[in-house]
Amino acid sequence: MSDARPVVVVGSGPAGVSVAWPLVEAGLPVLMLDAGAEAGPSRVAADRSSLASLRTDFGTGRSWRHLIGPTLSGLRNVGYASPKLRTSAAPGFGEDYAVALGLDASGFRAVGAFSPGGLSAVWGAVVCAFQGEELDPRIDAGALDESYRRVAARIGINGSDDDPLADYLGRGLPLQPPLPVSSAAAALLAKKGPGGDGLTVGRLRTAILTRDLGDRNACDLGRACMWGCGVGAIYNSADELPALWGRDNFTLRWRAEVVAVESDGSGPVLRLRDGEKVAARAVILAAGVLSTTRLVLAARGGGQSVPLLNNPAVSFALLSPSRLGRPLAAVGHGAAQLGFRQIVAGKGELFGMLYDADTMSAVDIMSHMPFSRPGAAAVARRLLPAVMLGLGYLPGAYSRNRVTLAADGGLKIEGETSADCAATMAAAGKALRRSMARLGAHMLPGSFRPYPPGAEVHYAGTLARPEDSTADGAIVGLPGVVVADASVIGRLPAKTHTFTAMANADRIGRLWAARLSGV
């Protein structure tokens, strides 16, 4: 008996696309629903000049179109959330999200978006494999390893196994040649610390192409990554949709916001915002942790409360005085230059990345200076060549956020960190300050600033307990409903987790492809 109902994947973000591929390849009819609107090509103009030219060349004209966007969306106040939401997110990105989810967050900054590609439209593209203890023990490590390789080959990752961080980031992935690092980063890499201080600095793996792949092009070294990529070098799951669409058994619907998951006795039925109902053979939720969690909690009913993992995050600035006065680099990439891992004796670790300060908007850096604006501008001009900005993450085990379904159907999030989180963060800062100083990079006083919970995203683990889901993503108590995004990943190390969320979605997709096609 063949079943005409499609397998419905909810969400076009990295997890949705990753779970869809194995299902489509297995020949199953797949219907992807996304709440966002496809508003033309997602990419930045391909003929955009380099960042240096946009900033200094009067001849290019209309620099502002690229730097703050044709609709000036770069002027909106994104508060304490990542400045990237301001510089590269499409107009309206994330704005309808909180309303649609009925979000009520206290002590937590919730970020999410109804747009093609989900949050991958603005991600940092840093790719790490979880290993050993870092991995949720429920996930089959062998199957996940295969998925890591499948996803890496699909999306294109640059990096090198010949690197101090290679053991930590995971070896054995198909890699494109590494991106060239900036002179500031190269100088830091060349300095050999005394060792024994728990710090490892090395190259990162990023989902940025250094060789053309499909219709995406290799990085053009224009250094304007923070303002979006003009050539499609930085992976955005929306860029995979045309290839999926090319398959006869794949269909995609925009503006199809799923508001409820129901059942008609023979299988799950999705209710859309406009009242339409879509019957499915199986529903695979990959709508992003907050959306997915709300749908599942609402479908199960009752005032339930689940944990929400996220990485406590911190930003800081490092000054290398020997670089003062150097000209800013006009050529290179503008994503994270280096990775670092700082082990804090007896307290776990801080993982993070370093950016050249001039690849970000100086205005965001200046907003931390207690000077007048003209004074801050003059200081920024002189400091930028010598400053690297860092982002660091503690393991998700230090978060204590809770998510509850409110009586009105909205999602209530209470942000909290563990009792020892602040002390661990401070200890990590202290250790990092000391070990970076030995490399000639001095942390600027007052610059080590933890983010409020949630602001740096990295959400996971809401539905990862055995009472909520099985190891293959099936939701307990909701037959035919599977979750494929990070909601079912129950452990977050200090590493960024998007790549693992994608690999896990691929793993779940392969499992269900086999099951649903009766193999």
């Binding site: 006065g325 007048s372 003059a378 200081v379």
Partner: protein
């Protein structure tokens, strides 16, 4: 395809068309212009009313909004080109199975309208026959670019403090440009319309003279006196004026004097449209002037030179779109001598969502950075001798240290 619905607009380069194309794109439509395009980013197919539209323009179109209107040559005889032109367009949309056609008609459309325009629009409406073909009877459009009849009215109101006019007491039903675009797009999307003709106009009326007085007060910040005149002598006078200002002619006067009132409250309700009063609709203009003044001062302060005009416009748009839309109540000395802000700029206190001076300075800074004139002050791609750079840092640090206590005192009120 992986894409939003496709909307074809005729007359997209016009007063309403350009605004509609922009609004449609914000709303997620893929916009295609049939005829001239409002800007190079909107793809277009060459076409003139009366020609067969190229097949590739209509293939796959989800909706067509027909705004194009051909003004008859003065003294032209015979059938008006708009009627066969629209018929030809409709034949093509029917052939391609376009699921919605919206024709931009006028509130003055009547078989027995006073002016030729109203009679013509009525006749064009009669060419729409299929249930998917709708007419939108549009009221007096205001706001948007200074073009069309609105541009003309603005010119008049700015020209003179005393405006003699006919039919000043006549009730009119205005609609703001953004409300009109919203309405047209709702018509284009609407799954099951219950009528063939929808009135896109304010369901409540305002007298024409009150409308103009409000425009004068809120947009141009000046009083306006409207004197009612009898129609006959005015038409004679207008015939004279039209030789100097061709936009003012007999037909337009008749159009204004003869506007009927339509009862469209149910139409508006069915569309779920919200239409503001003229006072609310024009309020942004009054605030704009104050924001402009504020922007000139803040941008000058962060740039060190007078801002380019485009940047100033961006400031106004930025405040209106993302900054609360109201000017801060900054004292005149700060607005006149922006350099004084260096003493009065608050220390810290970035109030999220509260529209404070700090937040505005940040916006000004982002705007400065968005163009080379400001970015060159921030980014040194040429390099500087190291000693000079260090010395500079020390010097600025010293000055800022001296300024800090002053700012803490003077800046407190702007936090």
């Amino acid at each position: 395809m992986v894409a939003g619905p496709r909307l074809v607009i005729t007359g997209a380069a016009g007063y309403i068309g350009a605004a509609l194309a922009a609004a449609a794109r914000r709303d997620g439509w893929r916009v295609v212009a049939l005829g001239r395009s409002p800007d190079p980013t909107v793809p277009s197919h060459p076409w003139r009313l009366g020609e067969d539209p190229p097949a590739e323009a209509l293939a796959g179109a989800d909706a067509v909004i027909h705004l194009a209107h051909q003004w008859a040559a003065p003294g032209a005889q015979g059938e008006d080109p708009n009627i066969p032109g629209t018929e030809r367009l409709l034949e093509a949309t029917r052939r391609h199975g376009v699921r919605r056609v919206v024709f931009a008609s006028s509130i003055s459309a009547r078989e027995d309208a006073l002016n030729a325009y109203g009679r013509l629009k009525w006749r064009v409406e009669q060419t729409l026959r299929a249930p998917v073909e709708l007419s939108a009877r549009i009221g007096l459009v205001y706001g948007g670019a200074d073009a069309g009849l609105w541009g003309l009215l603005c010119k008049l109101v700015r020209l003179t403090p005393i405006l003699p006019m006919v039919g000043g007491g006549r009730p009119i039903q205005p609609i703001r440009m953004d409300e009109l675009c919203d309405g047209l797009l709702r018509l284009a999307r609407m799954p099951a319309p219950t009528r063939a003709v929808y009135g896109l106009a304010s369901p409540t009326t305002i007298s024409f003279s009150a409308f103009l007085r409000t425009v004068a007060r809120l947009r141009f910040h000046r009083p306006l006196m409207v004197i009612s005149l009898p129609l006959g002598p005015v038409l004679a006078a207008v015939d004279l004026v039209s030789r100097v200002v061709p936009a003012i002619n007999r037909e337009r006067v008749l159009g204004l004097a003869g506007l009927p009132v339509i009862d469209n409250a149910a139409d508006i309700a069915e569309l779920g449209l919200e239409i503001r009063s003229v006072v609310d609709g024009l309020a942004p203009f009054a605030r704009r002037k104050a924001i402009l003044r504020e922007g000139r001062a803040l941008l000058r302060y962060v740039l060190g030179v007078s801002p380019p005009m485009g940047m100033l416009r961006h400031y106004v748009t930025g405040i209106e779109s993302y900054g609360g839309g109201r000017p801060l109540d900054l004292p005149a000395p700060l607005l006149t001598v922006p350099g004084l802000l260096r003493l009065a700029e608050p220390v810290g206190g970035k109030g999220e969502g509260r529209h404070t001076l700090v937040e505005r300075l940040e916006m000004a800074m982002i705007l400065a950075e968005s163009q080379p004139v400001g970015a060159r002050r921030l980014y040194d791609y040429g390099g500087t001798p190291r000693w000079k750079s260090v010395l500079g840092l020390v010097g600025i640090g010293a000055i800022e240290a001296l300024l800090l206590p002053v700012r803490m005192v003077l800046g407190r009120r702007y936090r």
